[in-house]
Symmetry: C2
Subunit: 242 residues, 2 copies
């Protein structure tokens, strides 16, 4: 990442908060920070804005800026467990890379629904990639992904076994940072039970996602069935600005 000023300020303030520097839970006012960091007040505001979005601080007009007490108590809650879930391919649990077993790999015509979601024409084809992901030798996710062949014409099963997102990054210098996600739950099917070692009263979490490249092109539609014990989506929700 480039060396942006507001980013540096943001990280520094975060570090100072974690270091327990502001025992009153109150941050210095924006004009002082502007002075001490030798940057404009706008830049301070931008840095602070990121921390507000992350739920780490609260601003109160007229009184000042305050640290979310929970951030000091339990920083793990701020880790956005859901974030890693967003990018299925760069999944990590406790820093461990998942294994992947390829269940199916084929090229098929895009169904009307997939056409709409990936913005394809009638005659276009997609890879249909079905994988079982395992952590610690435990099967955790059944994932079915659809990717337009025109985006990755040279995709191979070998690449699919490792990381499609890395491959995209390397071959096209594009990353995937945006997605729509929806999450729900349902009883497990026979296939779910068999692949994920579930009993019939144990459910699966269903995550469906559309992933976009930096330029807005839809890159992949993905449907995931997760072992319910591994589904945990956590997020900070801010209803301002709506």
């Amino acid at each position: 990442m480039p060396d942006l000023v507001y980013r540096n300020v943001m990280h520094d303030i975060k570090k100072r908060i974690r270091g327990g520097e502001f025992t009153t839970k109150k941050l210095p006012d924006e004009r002082s920070l502007s002075e001490s960091y030798q940057v404009s007040r706008s830049t301070i505001k931008r840095a602070m804005g990121v921390l507000v979005d992350q739920g780490i601080i609260f601003k109160k007009r007229g009184s000042g800026t305050f640290i979310n007490p929970l951030y000091l108590k339990d920083q793990s809650a701020f880790r956005y467990e859901g974030r890693n879930l967003g990018i299925t391919d760069s999944f990590q649990v406790n820093g461990e890379q998942p294994q992947s077993r390829l269940l199916d790999y084929r090229v098929v015509p895009a169904s009307p629904e997939i056409q709409q979601e990936l913005f394809l024409n009638d005659a276009e084809f997609v890879y249909r990639i079905k994988r079982l992901r395992l952590f610690d030798d435990q099967p955790v996710i059944i994932e079915t992904g659809y990717i337009p062949i025109k985006i990755l014409p040279a995709l191979t099963p070998a690449v699919v076994q490792s990381s499609i997102f890395n491959y995209l990054q390397e071959t096209q210098d594009q990353s995937v940072t945006k997605s729509f996600l929806s999450i729900r739950a349902q009883p497990s099917s026979h296939e779910d039970q068999k692949l994920l070692n579930l009993t019939e009263v144990e459910p699966v979490g269903v995550m469906e996602g559309i992933f976009f490249m930096d330029d807005g092109t839809p890159f992949e539609v993905s449907n995931m069935h997760l072992h319910y014990k591994y589904l945990k989506y956590g997020t900070f929700v801010n209803l301002d600005e709506d």
Copy 2:
């Protein structure tokens, strides 16, 4: 809401996008918009930034700003179904107000966990409010909420039956726009099955939330068991700025 310039611009651009005005999927450049709206370029950037956060447009440095094709195809995906779920109390489904059946209402000492989450001391008390929420006479959610008595010392069962958030708004001019949410799934318990009319293979969604007032004070901890057919959390995820 006040009549902020960037907000007006944001809404106007959104309206123009929905109206199909930009058939090329490309928006005018920022300097032109600045000119035509007679506002500064910074204000345009701010308005556009909101739309980027909502997943409605994508910016591409050097080329321009483009509409997310999915926004035109399927605006419902952009509705953040999860948003309403965030504020359990102002829940709506198809614009319908939920009914609420009070299952339990008492004042108890805050457990260590609740103390931590609501930032309370050892000797403090909380309301423990257990409600069953129904839509269309269908039981949908079992909710157990914990609220510090010191925040709402005059709370009554009558208020609880209607809307606690409205009550907070009226009595203290505070709203609740921020929360931590976590979502998971699990098999239904006997109580779940009985109250939500589930069979034993049907699961519940579990949403846990900590809700904050505008000034950052934790207001409520809530644990919800949702009928799995009504759990659908959708959101736009942007992994920039991390």
